[in-house]
């Protein structure tokens, strides 16, 4: 683990050049506006400054397995989609994501064997700052024109560098190139979990002694059949186990959401399809 942390730390210093855009569907950009003194809680008027963007998530994996080979036979992605509304602001110190989605049932508990709670997560890869190219620091970067979609997009392809399991990062060709940071929220947990991953089945909660643990806080409400969850975290990761986000740069981001009523957990979820969603930190 220490080795992985040090590798991730090195990766943050020495960003590899990632210039090849992924083949696939159209890119989305979510501007992260600067709002001075924004507190980001549920009643903060700062949120009025930005509208929600509706993004589409796809059903990505089922945790079906081959006998005795947990990684041998997973179901292919399905065509089902689920929308999620997203907006984000920052106050120069903290960045805040507001995630809103419709869910007819509020699932809060996991205190019995068949009970699963609703959940949501955001995910940003390490080492992917300005992966589409940047027009200059401090200026809102324009996303470059994308190549035409490939006829058969390869699910999980990440810039040609991380061939597997983009949703959880990938070990190949190296953890520092393909690791991901995840903030995971579920209502029955005492706090937002700081998670890192280098491939499917590898996600790991950061140790409680790591400053990244507890660095992300959540404000959540369930009203009229809809969840709103705000995730607030420092722009600068307090340890190598939390990706640092800098003003004037853009980052790919992925969203995942679980519906407890449908017993969704782990790979049974809806998530962004490939790295097509981006935040642009103004």
């Amino acid at each position: 683990m220490t080795n992985t942390i040090s590798k991730l730390a090195m990766a943050l210093v020495a960003m590899a050049a990632l210039a090849l855009p992924a083949a696939g569907t159209a890119q989305s950009r979510l501007p992260v506006k600067f709002v001075k003194n924004a507190k980001c809680n549920l009643t903060d008027g700062a949120w009025a400054a930005v509208p929600y963007q509706t993004l589409s998530m796809v059903k990505v994996y089922e945790t079906y397995v081959a006998p005795y080979d947990p990684y041998g036979d997973r179901n292919p992605p399905s065509d089902e989609t689920r929308p999620i509304d997203v907006k984000a602001i920052h106050n120069g110190t903290d960045i805040c994501f507001s995630l809103r989605w419709t869910d007819a049932t509020q699932d809060l508990l996991t205190n019995d064997v068949p009970l699963f709670a609703d959940a949501v997560a955001i995910q940003v890869p390490f080492n992917a700052r300005d992966m589409w190219g940047n027009e200059g620091l401090g200026i809102e970067p324009a996303l470059p024109e994308l190549p035409p979609p490939a006829p058969e997009p390869v699910h999980g392809e990440f810039l040609g560098l991380c061939p597997e399991s983009y949703h959880m990062g990938a070990m190949e060709p190296s953890p520092e190139q393909c690791g991901v940071w995840i903030a995971f929220w579920r209502p029955d947990l005492p706090g937002v979990q700081n998670v890192t991953g280098v491939g499917q089945g590898t996600v790991q909660r950061t140790s409680p002694s790591d400053p990244a643990s507890g660095a992300t806080v959540a404000f959540a409400k369930y009203e009229l059949g809809s969840w709103t969850v705000i995730l607030k975290r420092p722009l600068v990761g307090p340890s190598p186990n939390m990706v640092t986000l800098e003003r004037g740069h853009h980052y790919p981001i992925a969203y995942s959401q679980w519906d407890g009523t449908l017993k969704e957990r782990n790979g049974r979820k809806f998530a962004s399809d490939d790295w097509n969603d981006n935040i642009v930190i103004e």
């Binding site: 945790t63 079906y64 397995v65 081959a66 006998p67 005795y68 080979d69 947990p70 036979d73 996991t110 205190n111 019995d112 064997v113 068949p114 009970l115 029955d188 947990l189 499917q200 089945g201 590898t202 996600v203 790991q204 017993k263 957990r265 782990n266 790979g267």
Partner: protein, 393 residues
């Protein structure tokens, strides 16, 4: 899948089980009384058969439990079906609530007010949803004088092909190479409960407080010191067994890199292969392959359990006048439903095997098979608990 250098093997002689639950209490006090989430679990339970088992209906194919008929081995499709369709059972109605008594109302100690004279458990143990680890205690079937029941103590089978390991998407469940013990890495587990679904014997449990899954660990911290060297001690449920029904030993597969020694199992049963010097050290292997008196519980689940049972004998029925009849009291068909050698064995083959075992034990009882009798009597603890022989030169 890890290779297995040697595999822990267990035999429980059901003819000696008196249903005292000392094994369950040993395990409970050793491992599962440590927090609220563990309290409902019985990693070791003793259930009465015929009965619904623990958790309730765990092997009831009609409710989607176990593995689908026609897929005796764990195929990809079978596992998908298990993970999709197998129900996850609520704790209270299927495992039984962890109850507590109203000590503070009865006793004056520790702030009690002695307002009540009666100790009563809470929650109410006889409500409509009530259940427990041995709900069918001593119920059985038929009427006096031909009523019958027997006990089946169950722990994790530490299967050669564990369903829990196959189902875990995080490799949190794993099988140790050195002894084949199946464990769940408590740091890696995130409480998805696929292992609970994936284990057809339902010996992986969800801890709702810790939000992770837990299971029998074969008392590995007793078996080895902190550096991993064997201590010569055994699992607590084995050492505390008052009926001395439990045998423990190792089976070493012929191939050092094997993770599937089922073919060897069949060869040893059929006599096509003989026991190696190492394997012959252990009475578990002698009961299995030399005397052929031990069977698996529900081998059709396909996970190749490493816990075997000497099935209970079936005494003759009594007629209304009290004379002994030639009819057996415990239907041999019931035993053949429960016990067999391997997945794919037909029902009629199972019936034949149970009948054969009856004869072998009768032979031993009549003094015609002193070797078997000596092992079944197990005069000393060293006759039953033999893991230490696995480390002898």
């Amino acid at each position: 899948m890890a290779t297995i250098q040697k595999q822990v093997r267990m035999v429980f002689d059901l003819n000696k089980c008196i249903g005292c639950h000392t094994c369950s209490m040993a395990c409970k006090t050793m491992w599962t009384d440590r927090n609220d989430g563990l309290m409902y679990m019985y990693w070791n339970n003793v259930e009465t058969r015929p009965g619904k088992g623990y958790p309730k209906g765990f092997e009831d194919a009609a409710s989607g439990a176990g593995f689908p008929d026609g897929n005796p081995y764990l195929t990809s499709d079978a596992m998908k079906k298990v993970l999709t369709d197998n129900p996850l059972r609520p704790i209270v109605s299927h495992y039984g609530a962890a109850w507590e008594y109203n000590y503070s109302e009865v006793l004056k100690v520790e702030g009690g007010n002695a307002s009540s004279q009666m100790l009563v458990p809470s929650p109410e143990p006889n409500g409509p949803d009530a259940y427990a680890s041995n709900w069918d205690e001593d119920v059985g079937r038929e009427q006096m004088p031909n009523n019958y029941y027997f006990y089946v103590p169950r722990i994790c089978n530490h299967c050669t092909k564990p369903g829990c390991v196959a189902a875990c998407p995080r490799k949190a469940a794993y099988k140790r190479e050195e002894d084949g013990v199946v464990l769940i890495d408590q740091d890696r587990c995130r409480g998805y409960r696929y292992c609970v679904k994936g284990c057809p014997y339902k010996k992986s449990y969800y801890n709702p407080r810790e939000k992770i899954s837990q299971k029998c660990i074969f008392c590995y911290p007793r078996l080895e010191d902190p550096k991993g060297f064997p201590t010569g001690r055994h699992s607590f449920c084995f050492t505390q067994c008052t009926g001395r029904i439990r045998y423990a030993g190792f089976f070493q597969p012929a191939s050092a890199t094997s993770d599937n020694f089922e073919a060897e199992h069949r060869d040893l049963l059929s006599g096509a292969r003989s026991l190696s010097e190492f394997n012959a050290r252990f009475n578990v292997n002698r009961l299995l392959y030399e005397y052929k008196v031990a069977l698996r519980l529900r081998p059709e689940f396909g996970t190749q359990p490493n816990l075997f049972y000497v099935p209970p004998l079936s005494p003759p029925k009594l007629s209304s006048s009290g004379s002994v009849s030639s009819e057996q009291r415990v239907p041999i068909g019931l035993l053949a439903e429960l016990f067999g050698d391997y997945a794919g064995q037909s029902y009629s083959e199972r019936i034949a095997r149970v009948g054969e075992i009856f004869e072998k034990i009768e032979d031993a009882r009549a003094g015609r098979n002193p070797g078997l009798l000596r092992i079944l009597i197990a005069r000393t603890e060293q006759d039953r608990l033999q893991l230490d022989l696995g480390f002898a030169a």
